[in-house]
């Protein structure tokens, strides 16, 4: 049974809140206590961090568009550059906005399985092109 504690207008999960029953033991309990003990200044720091990530995402978007106008020699290089920037931007969103940089093991486990199957899906698609008998592909 959980206990409801915080009240409207009060900072949540920043000071150790009396009566919050986390039902955790050992290291998990310590980690949870540390999370609960975040001070408002600490949250202000987080907000500054979010703003830096936001600026980086804006910058990344402009770079992506700019790079698409640069003739690198062949289309494959342009594709690689665009995807590299997209992966960097997506990592920033995942790590900071979605807090994956400090999450629970269960979430990493879920995402590990997802990544495995996602990559499998992509390689099956690409690998299917190696499956044509020789000299049957005309383009």
């Amino acid at each position: 049974m959980e206990t409801k504690t915080a009240t409207a207008g009060r900072a949540l999960s920043m000071a150790p809140v009396e009566g919050v029953q986390t039902e955790l033991q050992g290291p998990q309990a310590t980690e949870q206590a540390l999370m609960n003990a975040q001070a408002p200044e600490s949250f202000a720091r987080h907000v500054r961090g979010y703003l830096y990530v936001f600026y980086a995402l804006i910058f990344g978007t402009l770079i992506t568009v700019g790079a698409s106008y640069i003739p690198f020699g062949n289309r494959e290089v342009n594709i690689a550059v665009a995807l590299f920037i997209a992966i960097s931007k997506a990592s920033l969103v995942a790590c900071y906005f979605m807090h994956l940089i400090s999450e629970r093991k269960l979430i990493y486990g879920i995402l590990g399985f997802t990544a495995f199957f996602f990559l499998g899906l992509m390689f099956l698609t690409i690998g299917s092109f190696a499956d044509f008998p020789r000299h049957t592909v005309t383009h």
Binding site: A8, F54, S68, H139
Partner: protein, 258 residues
């Protein structure tokens, strides 16, 4: 009876239940979009040389929509941070911005869709091809703003240095028209996957905006009764919103730029 672990941490997962749930849901979403991205790769790699479109979409509008969605992501995370800091008023302001930005995104996307559905490739009886936006459609004639091309291949790479962007008003008698087709999903496999991917993404934007709108409006009453539980709801909807943003981060270069 209370729903367990809406706020308190469940001992075996280390999470409140909704958070484990949303991540499982997002994992299934990765596979859904992953399947469509793999379809895109298959179509693209399988396309004939010189017949995969380049520059068919409006890059400034796509860039603007990317910036809109990124900005909505920061307002979402700031709305959640405001709840964490107990600043309900700021939460309301930030999420109002998120909703406005979501509406802007869908508005721009609708304009882009409209642009494609009014864009026609018209093959004439003499073999020439006229390509442009429909201005007028009468029983005896069609008027477009566009250009003539001698070879259909010239329609595919609009970002090539040699591509012509000189458009003029062209009147075509109906009797001269052999075939006329708009740039809908039926026109080319690129447009089929473009409409599928962006349409599904737009549905996610609309769905996310409905949830955020609920939390901003009637759902915000929970803040008075149980602010921690409300804050968790804001976090869950935010995780979904960031995922939608992340999908667009890939869609933009893949469909507009490369």
């Amino acid at each position: 009876m209370d729903i367990p672990y809406t706020v308190a941490i469940r001992p075996d997962t280390g999470l409140y239940n909704a958070k484990a749930g949303i991540w499982l849901f997002l994992a299934s979403e990765v596979m859904l979009f992953g399947a469509l991205f793999s379809a895109y790769i298959l179509l693209r790699v399988g396309a004939q040389d010189d017949f995969w479109p380049h520059g068919w979409l409006n890059i400034p509008l796509g860039t603007l929509n990317t910036l809109v969605l990124i900005t909505s992501s920061i307002t979402t995370v700031l709305a959640w941070a405001s709840c964490k800091m107990g600043q309900f008023g700021r939460f309301k302001v930030f999420h109002a911005c998120t909703l406005i930005l979501a509406a802007t995104f869908v508005g721009i996307k609708s304009y882009e869709y409209h642009d494609k559905f009014t864009h026609y490739e018209i093959t004439l009886n003499d073999g020439r091809i006229a390509d442009g936006h429909l201005l007028e459609s009468k029983p005896d004639r069609v008027v477009i703003r566009g250009r003539f091309v001698a070879d259909r291949k010239d329609l595919f790479d609009l970002r090539a240095p040699t591509a012509s962007h000189k458009h003029e008003e062209i009147t075509l008698p109906r009797a001269d028209i052999k075939r006329m087709e708009s740039y809908g999903p039926w026109h080319h496999t690129y447009l089929a996957i473009y409409f599928t991917l962006t349409g599904l993404h737009a549905l996610h934007v609309i769905g996310g905006a409905i949830v955020i709108g609920f939390l901003w409006g009637p759902g915000s009453r929970l803040w008075r009764r149980d602010p921690e539980r409300f804050t968790n709801r804001v976090e869950i909807s935010g995780l979904f919103w960031h995922f939608v943003d992340m999908v667009w981060i890939f869609l933009f270069p893949v469909l507009y730029l490369i």
